[in-house]
Amino acid sequence: MLSVRNLKRLSIGPIDLDVEGGEIVALTGPSGVGKSMLLRAISDLDPNTGTLSLDGQDRDAMSAPQWRKHVMYVPAHTGWWAETVEPHFIGLDRTRVKDTLHGLNLESTALGWQVANLSTGERQRLALARALAHDPKILLLDEPTSGLDGDNAGRVETLVRAAATAGSGVVFVTHDTVQANRLSTRRVYFHDAQLHEVPQ
């Protein structure tokens, strides 16, 4: 589904990566090696070179917003552009959003909350819910459970699996080897600006 060939961004690459629908790829590697930089480059948020395509369609043949809707990056710390939560979910299927919120142990009233009062964990789960509600073909998750306790991390993992079962391809960054083994269907290790497949 997602094909990355010869991707270069600053000091990283050239990187090749394929992600199929239903796959969950764990991306591990030491801090500062450029894991976030790689995910940002795949979603075309920073200048980069390489040949990327989704379902055979070239990235350059799509507008950048169109590409990012399908290949969606969820940063570890996301931003908010309105005072309350609700405007961040405008235009999305309401039932779908509420189901996702419940799955993440958030009340439906969360939509009315003030962004300024959200805890780190709430922000992280809401950001994931926001991305999931867009039904992207590829999800690029940057440390999706870093600010969460065990229970909530488990809920996030359940939703990620559900998204993969529904046909999305997932790449997630983690520092937790146990989680990498538990959640992923495949593992890649980022080292020396290159990706290495980790044998199963």
Binding site: S43, D44, L45, D46, P47, S63, A64, P65, Q66, R68, K69, M72, Y73, V74, P75, H77, T78, G79, W80, W81, H88, A127, R130, A131, H134
Partner: protein, 274 residues
């Protein structure tokens, strides 16, 4: 109206300079260390204004479209430099200067020429006695607006990077994602001229009007000129700030709807020379 004009002699200026000496005395007495800065500033004012007085006298006598145009361009380039001189955050590779100068040239040029050919109508229309002071007033106010607008946009986009990119990753276009901050920058840019129009007459007597009254023009006539000038200033500042803010916003993005903060350059605050 010429009968009431009071000419100043050099003696009058010398008397006024006694006040300056007093200020210097206070500085020495209280050990403020300002006497040198005061002296240099006073000297600069005297030399710069005397020089410009002579230049204007020559230009006014020439009434040449070429020399007037040359002086106007010189003023615009200097104004462009002023816009960027004190910005702590600006675009790399001279883009801030280029954008500022282009905005000043376009806005100042359009409005000044419009005012000269439709409202004031001197003969010839480019008569430097009208064109240059008019342009000077436009530039002085517009450069403040442009400077505030560009600085505000640069700092807000940098500060709101996460919020902007949160929209980009969801597939919003870059213009949509930065629009609120473009609006905010425009509002900030226009604030001084809106304030000036609101306060005119109540709190402040604008300098040009005061000058005309001192020169013996009837206050009601001076007021008409001042209102015209205020409208021109509002027009120039709006056009100039709009061009500058939109161009800056464009430069901070690219064709793949990215936020290009790497095109910004942080500059250590430079202290004004003492």
């Amino acid at each position: 109206m010429s009968a009431v004009y009071v000419q100043l002699g050099y003696i009058d200026l010398a008397i006024a300079s006694v006040l300056l000496l007093m200020a210097g005395g206070v500085s020495v007495a209280l050990n403020l260390g300002l006497e040198k800065s005061l002296g240099i500033a006073a000297l600069r004012t005297t030399v710069q204004l005397s020089l410009i007085g002579m230049v204007l006298k020559i230009l006014f006598a020439l009434v040449s479209p070429w020399w007037t145009g040359f002086a106007a361009l010189f003023m615009i380039f200097m104004a462009g430099r002023e816009v960027t001189a004190r910005q702590s955050l600006r675009l790399r590779d001279g883009w801030s200067y280029s954008i500022a100068t282009t905005s000043l040239l376009t806005a100042g040029g359009i409005v000044t020429i419009l005012a000269l050919t439709t409202a004031i109508r001197p003969e010839p229309w480019y008569d430097p006695r009208f064109a240059l002071p008019l342009l000077g007033m436009m530039l002085g106010n517009t450069l403040t607006g442009i400077s505030i607008g560009m600085e505000r946009l640069n700092t807000t986009l940098k500060r709101e990077k996460d919020a902007i990119e949160a929209r980009l990753v969801l597939g919003h276009t870059r213009p949509d994602a930065v629009r609120p901050f473009v609006r905010e920058a425009m509002r900030a840019a226009l604030m001084p001229v809106v304030n000036a129009m609101s306060a005119a007459g109540l709190i402040s007597l604008p300098g040009m009007m005061t000058g005309q009254i001192l020169a013996g023009v009837s206050p009601t006539e001076a007021v008409k000129y001042q209102i015209l000038i205020m409208f021109l200033l509002a027009g120039t500042t709006s056009i100039g700030a709009l061009i500058a803010v939109l161009a800056t916003s464009r430069r901070l993005g690219d064709e793949r709807d990215r936020l290009r903060l790497d095109r910004l350059q942080q500059r250590a605050p430079v202290h004004e020379p003492k």
